[in-house]
C-alpha cells in the first residue's frame, strides 16, 4: 500500500499517512508513528529512496519509488489481484 501511495507522486510521511486515510475512506487508521519504521524498512530494501528537501518552507524527508520498488509494486498488484479474484470466486460477490 505504501508503495502504491508514492508510485505517482513522491511524498513525505504526513502526506503519505493522509493519502492512506483518504484513499481508504478512513478505514485504514494506523498509528501514524509506525508508518516511519515501515518507510525506512522499504528504503533499506531499496524499494523507496528518501531524501531531505524543502517542502513549503519546511525541511521534509520525501520518499519516492525506485525502479526496484516499481517492479515490486507490479508484482504485488499481480499477487493481490489473483488473491482477490480467488476469494471472490469462492465467496461470491465482487468489487
Amino acid at each position: 500500500m505504501l508503495l502504491s501511495v508514492v508510485a505517482n507522486t513522491p511524498g513525505h510521511g504526513y502526506a503519505i499517512a493522509e493519502a492512506l486515510r483518504s484513499r481508504s475512506d478512513a478505514v485504514i487508521d494506523l498509528a501514524e508513528g509506525t508508518l516511519y519504521p515501515a518507510l525506512h524498512r522499504l528504503e533499506n530494501g531499496g524499494l523507496l529512496s528518501g531524501r531531505w528537501s524543502e517542502v513549503n518552507g519546511r525541511r521534509r524527508r520525501v520518499y519516492q519509488l525506485t525502479a526496484k520498488g516499481a517492479r515490486a509494486l507490479t508484482q504485488k498488484r499481480r499477487e493481490w489481484n489473483l488473491f482477490a479474484r480467488t476469494v471472490y470466486a469462492v465467496v461470491g460477490g465482487g468489487p
Binding site: 504526513y14 498509528a31 501514524e32 508513528g33 509506525t34 516511519y36 525541511r59
Partner: protein, 199 residues
C-alpha cells in the same frame, strides 16, 4: 504547554528507540515533523491548540509502539555482533587486568602506565560497545576513536614486546587487540558513509 508535550514525546521516543538499538535521528526528526503537521492540520479544522495537540499525539501512537516497529528493522545479526564485541572486550579487560596487574606484573617499571592506559581504554570501550546498541549520535565518534586508540595501543604493545620492554605475551595480547580493533572498525563502517557519520 504545546511544545513541552511534543518535546517530551520526542525525548521518550528517542529513549525507547535507543533501548531497542533502533535509534536513528531521521526517524525521530520525521515523527517530530509529523506531529507538527498534524497539530497544524487540527488547528486548520478549528480545533483549539490543546485539542489539536492531544489528537496529534493520540494519532501518532505511543513511543513504545513506534519503537517496537523500528526495532524490527534492526538486523538480528547486527545486534548479535554488537553483543559479541562487547563480550570479547569484557573478557579482554578481565584477562588483561588479571594477567598484567595481578598475576604477572610487567618486568619493566615504565610499562605500568602504558598497560594501565590500555586497561582504561578497553574498559571505556566496553561501556561504549554496551551503549552502542542504540548507536546514538554521540557514542559513535567515541566508539570509532576509542577503537583506533585500542589498535594503536595494541601496536605499541607488540613493539614494546619486540624491543624487550614488555614480556613476550604482550605481543600476543597486542596482536589480539589490534585485530579486534580492525574488525570493529570494519564492522562499524556504514555503507557509503564516513566513519563518524550517524547511520
Amino acid at each position: 504547554m504545546r511544545h513541552d508535550r511534543i518535546a517530551a514525546y520526542v525525548n521518550e521516543l528517542a529513549r525507547a528507540l535507543r533501548a531497542r538499538g533502533a535509534y536513528t535521528r531521521d526517524l525521530v526528526d520525521e515523527v517530530r515533523d509529523h506531529l507538527v503537521d498534524s497539530i497544524e492540520a487540527g488547528a486548520r479544522r478549528g480545533l483549539s491548540a490543546d485539542a489539536a495537540e492531544h489528537e496529534a499525539l493520540a494519532n501518532v501512537g505511543s513511543p513504545e509502539a513506534v519503537a517496537e516497529h523500528a526495532a524490527a528493522n534492526v538486523p538480528r545479526f547486527r545486534r548479535r555482533m554488537l553483543m559479541t564485541l562487547c563480550l570479547c572486550t569484557t573478557c579482554s579487560v578481565a584477562y588483561l587486568t588479571l594477567s598484567l596487574l595481578i598475576l604477572r606484573p610487567p618486568r619493566a617499571s615504565h610499562a605500568w602506565p602504558a598497560e594501565a592506559v590500555l586497561v582504561l581504554v578497553v574498559t571505556a570501550l566496553t561501556f561504549a560497545w554496551a551503549k552502542a546498541g542504540g548507536l546514538s549520535p554521540w557514542i559513535r565518534p567515541v566508539l570509532v576513536l576509542g577503537t583506533i586508540a585500542l589498535g594503536a595501543l595494541g601496536c605499541v604493545s607488540i613493539f614494546a614486546a619486540v624491543t624487550g620492554d614488555f614480556e613476550g605475551y604482550s605481543a600476543v595480547l597486542g596482536t589480539l587487540f589490534t585485530i579486534q580493533a580492525l574488525l570493529t572498525l570494519l564492522y562499524l563502517k556504514p555503507r557509503g558513509r564516513g566513519f563518524l557519520s550517524h547511520p
